[in-house]
């Protein structure tokens, strides 16, 4: 047999076996992975609602706001949970944040991200978001530079992550205050 044809067939065979194996593992793990993601989202939504319940997702096509979940309490909408995207050191970061109708940030969680463990990944911790919560209403903007923080040391290192998170949260607040536009 032509040696080039022989090598091509052998390589193609190895690739097909690998593809079959990967397809099998994927079909086995995909439902588990989807279930983890669903539980993670549900837990985050439950955690973000201070009072009331979060409704169904309403997709948005803004540059930062990608979806909103109305929070209703006794039939009236009292605020929104926004799905936001920001840009961090390791690429895109996904955030979920709840706001009251005047744009005040109630709670925020950093979801999917590729930040550096030990540095930017610290933004996943609950304490990280505390410096932003309660701000975002008229005359009390969300700080978007470390210089505007009361305790800048709290975020030592990882300036890019800080800027990405804070800008996304500030944009979410603006979105609410500007009448959900």
């Amino acid at each position: 047999m032509n040696p080039i044809l022989d090598r091509t067939i052998r390589l193609a065979l190895i690739c097909s076996v690998a593809a079959l194996l990967l397809g099998f593992v994927d079909s086995m793990t995909a439902p588990q992975i989807a279930e983890h993601k669903r539980i993670e989202l549900q837990n985050a939504l439950n955690d973000l609602v201070v009072t009331g319940t979060a409704g169904e997702a309403e997709p948005q096509d803004g540059p930062v706001v990608t979806a909103r979940y109305p929070i209703s309490d006794g039939g009236a909408v009292t605020g929104y949970i926004l799905a936001l995207k920001g840009s961090g050191y390791g690429g895109e970061m996904k955030l979920l944040a709840s706001y009251s109708l005047d744009g005040t940030l109630l709670k925020a969680i950093l979801m999917e991200n590729n930040e550096t463990p030990g540095l930017g990944k610290k933004a996943e911790k609950r304490e990280y978001m505390e410096k932003f919560t309660g701000r975002g209403n008229q005359g009390n903007p969300i700080p978007t530079t470390k210089a505007k923080l009361e305790k800048p040391d709290a975020v030592g290192g990882s300036t890019i992550t800080f800027t990405g998170v804070s800008r996304a949260l500030a944009a979410g607040s603006d979105y609410i205050r500007e009448g959900l536009k």
């Binding site: 690998a18 593992v25 086995m28 793990t29 983890h36 991200n113 990944k121």
Partner: protein
Amino acid sequence: MKELTKGIYRENPIFVLVLGLCPSLAVTTQVVNGIGMGVGTMFVLICSNIMISLLKNVIPNEIHIPAYIVVIASFVTILDLLMQAYVPALSASLGVFVQLIVVNCIILGRAEAYASSHGVWDSIKDAIGMGIGFTLSLVLIALIRESLGAGTITLFPIESLGFSGEISIPGLVDAPARVMTLSAGALLVMGYLKAAINRVNERKGR
């Protein structure tokens, strides 16, 4: 036995063979990442060594590198999917580093230098030894970097014992040398450890 123990010190993949440094230095900001990355790499190393040792007579020399890459990339993807499905917490904390195992030179290096010319059993022993040596080296680098750079030692949380996974070192946690967790610190620690090991080996040689 020699096959099993040589990876731990005499042919240590990080300090002696100096293979796979990029992902190693990138993940060693926390001890837990060092353990996760080390064990993940060992899994891929064992699987790829077995497969390549079995296929060594089937793969012609001209196409051995692309064939090895297909085998290694497949095992890394399998590991990534299994971790996402069954240990999502570890998968989230290692993030992009799992995919980086594909380009870890240790795996391709052992396939090329060892598994392609040895039997299955010897290749498994080689992979286990190299895997243990790699994991221990990562843990050592991470231990120095994290304790000096952040003042903490991060391990796996054990919920039943109420252990959060983080041990704080008094004195260091309030005033850590931040540079140690950055890339420069990684190179510094690596350089000093390599120098120390060279010194020990030199003395032995005399």
